[in-house]
Symmetry: C2
Subunit: 145 residues, 2 copies
């Protein structure tokens, strides 16, 4: 595994680890206002998604899709947002975020300005479901390379 000095995703997990696999990890990100914000981080320091082999790209997107499906099944979000940006941290990672019509930024992107305060009770309802969601993710994803 090639580590790049000073890369935050080589040096640390980048969130609370939910599943650790040989080639990737799934972490829960602590992003205020977005309780169901996960990241699929590629273990190897790769800059762009297109630099992965076709087989690795397929495995990586299978994980992203499994996370998306679990978010939908558990939380019934208004939409799931999936993004690989990496401008600040150019180490391949996919953001996978459950979005709700009542959240602070909807329908804007999570990186856009907030449009309202999210209802703390609704945020807490989502947080309360994360253990069940993450059990589901662990069961589903341990079959993936």
């Amino acid at each position: 595994m090639t580590k790049v000095a000073g890369c935050p995703l080589c040096d640390a997990a980048g969130g609370r680890v939910v599943v650790q696999a040989p080639k990737w990890r799934l972490v829960h990100a602590e992003e205020a206002g977005f309780p169901a914000f996960y990241r699929v981080v590629w273990q190897e320091h790769v800059r762009e998604f297109s630099q992965l082999s076709a087989a690795d790209r397929s495995d990586c997107m299978d994980v992203v899709v499994a996370v998306e499906q679990a978010l939908i099944a558990q939380l019934q979000p208004a939409k799931v947002n999936v993004a690989s940006l990496g401008n600040a941290v150019p180490h391949l990672h996919w953001h996978v975020v459950a979005r709700f019509a009542w959240d602070s930024h909807f329908p804007g992107a999570v990186w856009a300005p907030a449009q309202r305060d999210a209802d703390p009770a609704r945020l807490a309802e989502v947080v309360a479901q994360l253990p069940t969601l993450e059990d589901r993710l662990r069961r589903g994803l341990t079959r993936t390379p």
Copy 2:
């Protein structure tokens, strides 16, 4: 092909069409400040990426990857950003955007607030390369389903 009344991506192309394939289209988006902003739009009205079959997901990401690779080869961007959000228009489309250290929002997301004015001369340099980039895309993508 199922069309959904009132869906902007069922009713219209959503940009200048660069490649039209049976299952998807590649369009150039007119987004101020981001001259190399493309979208891969799925033809069928599908809400979430994970609702595609595995074969369609693979084909769709092959197109996204081909666009990313062409952007890198032609424009040498600082980073390529890839995202499927769809909060406002829940019809599957992938944003594929070449980002530059000098652009108005870098390293922020294109949906975040601007950090500076982009240099018009540098924007014009990118615009001048789009015909060559798009010839490359048409050649590369006509082999994809």
